[in-house]
Amino acid sequence: MKVITIPATLEERSFEDVVHALAGAEGGRVLFDARALRWVDPYGMLGLLAAAEVAGRGGDRPVLQLPQAAEVLSYLGRMRFFDHAEELFEMHGSPRRGRGGEAASDVLLEITPIREYHDVHAAVDRVNARAIEILTHQLHYPTKEAWQFGSMLSEVCQNILEHSQATGWVATQTYSRIPQLDRRVVKIGVVDLGIGFKGSLAGAHAARFGDRWGDAAALEAAFIHGLTRFHDPGRGQGLKQIRKQVGRWGGKVSIRSGTARIADVPDWDDTAPLEEKLPFFPGAQIGIVLPARSDA
C-alpha cells in the first residue's frame, strides 16, 4: 500500500505535495495519512476528496487515517467533510460529526456538491445573507460590493457545470488570518474532476494554438482572453467578472487544471502567475481569497 502523508497545513500550495505523491503512486491501494494535519482550508479539504476519488479509480478504495487533533476533526465535521469522505475513503480513526450550517459561526458554506444548476441556486440562497454580513462587517467592503459575492459564487460554481462536464464541490470559510496575510480573509474553494480547461476548449481552439496547445495555453485562453467552447459572445465572461471583482478587493484567484496553474496574484502573495509542468491532476481546482480592506 502506498502511503501519502498529508502535510500539517493543507491548502493550495501544500496540496501540490499530495498531487505529486499521488502521481508517483503507480496504482495499488493508497493510504492518506492525515494524522499530523493541523490546519486545512476549503481548497485543501476539497482537494483531499478529489485525491481520494482519483486514487480510487483503480478499484481500490483508499484509506484515510484521520487527523489526531480534536479541533481539526471538529472543524472537518462542521464542514461536513465526513459526509462526503465516507463515500470515497475507508476511514480509520474516529470522526466527530459537526452540525454544520448556521450553527457553526465560522463556516460560511460547508462542503456542497455541485451536480446541477439547482445546487448553484441552493448554495447562493444559503450563503448570500451571511456572506454580505461578513464582507461588510468583517472585511469592511462597501455593501453594494458585498452583494457581488453571491454572483461570484454562482459564476464559479457554474464553471463546473458548463465546462467540466462533471460534478464538483464548493466550500467557503472565513479566517482571522492566513500565513501570507495578517488580515481576516474569506476563502473559497471549488474543485471538480472533469475534463479540465484543455479538454473543454480543445475542440474549438486547439488547432490555432498548434504546438503551444496544452494546459497552460488553455488556462491562458480562458482566464485571460475569455475563450470558451461556445460560439456565443456572451459566454466566457463569468471568469472575467470574477477576476475583476477579486482584483477590486485586492484578493487572489487561481485555477489549476491538468499540469498548469494560472493566477491573479496580489502583492501580499508570491505565487507565480503561471506555473507549468506540474504533476497531472484531472479537472479544475479554483481557489479564491478575499482579504479584509487594509484601510478599514
Binding site: H121, E145, S151, P233, R235
Partner: protein, 196 residues
Amino acid sequence: MTDVSRDVVPLRFELSSFVNRSVASLYSHLVTRPTGQAVRLGIESQIGEIGALCVSILDFGQVAVLDYSCADETVAKLILRYQSDDRPADAYFVARGLAEHHLEAIEAVLERHDLALVAELETGPALLGKVDAEEHEVWRAVERLGRATRDDVAGYLGVETREVSRPLNSLVRRRVVLYREATGLHYALTPLVPDQ
C-alpha cells in the same frame, strides 16, 4: 399623455416572481443560465400573446442576486431578439427597480453585446450600456420632450437637424427610442409605461 400611448400595451414583468413561475422554485436570485433562459422564454411568450406594440417593464425590485450569466440570458438576449430585423413582436424594454449591485452585471452584458437599455433609476431615467456622448445627449433631449420630431430635438439642443440624425437613428435602431414613421415622431420610453 402621448398619442402613441393609445397603441402601446404596457407589460410589467416582476422578474423575481417570474423566476418562481419559470423554474418552479422559490428563488429571489436571478442566477445561472438556465434560469435566465427560462425567464426570457416566459417574457417572450407573454409578449407574443399580446401581439401588439408593447413597452415592457423589467422589474428587478425583488431580485437579490443577479449574476452575469443570468443577466446575459435574460437582458442581453431579450434585447438582441427584439432588436433584430426578424423580431417576433414590436417590443421595447425599460428596466426598473435596479439597485447598484445589479448594475454591474447589467452594464457588463450590455457592453459585451454593444446594447443599450433604458432604466428608471432612483436618480431618474438613465440610458445604460454602450452609448456615445452624442447619443446620450440626444436621448436626454427626447426624454425631456416626451415626443419630438427630428427638428424638435435639434431645436431643443440648438444644433442643425443633420447633427441629430445619426444619434437619433442609432437610438431608434437600438430600440431605446420609439419612432413612428407615419408621424415622424420619436417617443421617449419612460412616459409610455405606468408609474410604479
